[in-house]
Amino acid sequence: MLELGPIFRALLRNKIGAILIAVQIAFTMAIIVNAVFIIYDRSQQTKRPSGIDEANTFYINSSGFGDDFDIKGTITRDLEAIRALPGVIDAVQINAIPISGSGWSMGLQTEAGAEHDGQGVAVYMVDEHGIKALDLELLAGENFAKSDIRWRGPAGSKWPAKVIVTEAMAKRLFPELSYSEAVGKTVYINNDEPMIITGIIDKLQAPWVGWDNLDNAMLSPEKMEFQSTRYLIRTVPGMRDQLMKTVEELLAENKSRVIDGMRSIDYVRERSYRGNTAMIKILTTVIVTLTVVTSLGIVGLASFSVNRRKKQIGIRRALGATKASILRYFMVENFLISASGVVLGAALTIALNMLLVSALSIPPLDWFYIPAGMLVLCLVGQAAVFGPAKKATEIAPATATRTV
């Protein structure tokens, strides 16, 4: 016996409190559901693998000074020395660090000419050690040969003849082909400089974690003849921290340069996603706070309504209501309020999501978040009302005969 009709009609006669709570539930739902979705979205984003051996990799920056600084010789000797260190799997000179926030991007296109659109791609300049140092898997084609590697001068802007691209990039460029069929194809960089795809690697993320084309990356067979350079070093598991120190000391032996920065990739990831982590914490706080506030609102309204209706509850008990009927009465009443709240909440959730999609480039909400949010909010309502409702069942039937 749910008494839906009479409860609903009685609610309509005391609607202000109920409407306020329903509206509160609606807003809470809209905010919580969107917040949960953003948290999920951001935490998934944070978890995306960069493709490299993050736990065992670090980079170190070196800046030479003086006009007589021997760039090529220093880089060659540095790499030889680092690669010879026990515990180093491989090392490579590289222009940018994946997911670090700064790097180079170019456009690759399948037809030459400025009138054709290119696909944005992150450029990593590496020698033949790049694949091993970055822990990449060559899915098709072949690695660069030592003879493929050329020196890029500070002013040099021509591009090498060969390129290795990620599987994702190959699919972008040649959507109709399988990635292995992309090997041997010519693509154009800088509108009309041809490069032949000689290899496909599995996964390598670009430096910019917020970029839509994060998985578009290419390896260019080059070493850089720059005063300032950067080495990426991959170690055997457990040796990273020790080798960071060793490599730093090793490079510091050359007094005509300074070491200006050394970081683990773990740190790079943490720094790049710090915004996400902070947002997740803030949103979690918002969710918890709103849930508590809304629950307290429900508890407050229900307690007030139980106190106000003490006599009525006593009368109902006198007329034959069991304790369970009284409990059910308040649970059903709350359910009616919550149900109307979450229906309104569903509309508000969608509206807020549309706003967020356009303002913050957040993906649109998956549909199932809405029913899940409705269910959760109703359950929160039922949980919140249970205490006051249980208290109502303790009101004695004899209250009905008291003339107070």
């Binding site: 009525q312 008990r317 034959g320 039937p397 009905a400 005969t401």
Partner: protein, 232 residues
Amino acid sequence: MLTMTNVKKVFRTDLVETHALRDFNLQVDEGEFVAVTGPSGSGKTTFLNIAGMLETFNEGTYQLDGEDVSHLNDNQRSKLRNEKIGFIFQSYNLIPDLSLFDNVDVPLRYRGFDAKERKKRIEESLDIVGLANRMKHLPSQLSGGQQQRVAIARALAGNPRFLLADEPTGNLDSAMAQSVMELLKEINKKGTTIVMVTHDPQLATQATRNIFVKDGQVSEINDVVAMHVANG
């Protein structure tokens, strides 16, 4: 119908022990209209609460319609109350947020009748009290006497074996009080047993039997009918 034997009810607080009923003995037979009178604090309301199973008691036995109710649990008492007893309260005790129809419906829903049966009973009982045309009204739209009639309709709708009335005319002027009394007498004539608590001796004399309660005990039982006959 209703038999209380040596019923004892004690209210205890940290400081005092109040004996509301002590060795309370009473038998009410089917078809009777019993008026219970007595001074304030004599135990009238406690008697009514126990008779209506709104309260438990400490000692003694209470048989309602042949069933010993002393050891029933809360749920069983609620069910029995709903089935066998109709309540009429001094302050009407209608639920202000519900229409007359929904008010009369309250005990019927607890009884578990289906919608059709409930509708029939609600309409019939509101018809008996002369308010069938005001079913959609709220209690606040009625006079005190009318509200008490609705309460009587609510008490009657479940077709109870007996009615317990607690100062049913206490809040009414004498004309309205008399019309409610007439209604109760009519209901009694149709076979419903009525126990009415009142402090008004004038009304009490209209019952078929008077019971005087003092210090938690039945101190005097007057057979009003016999008295009337003797006086008549």
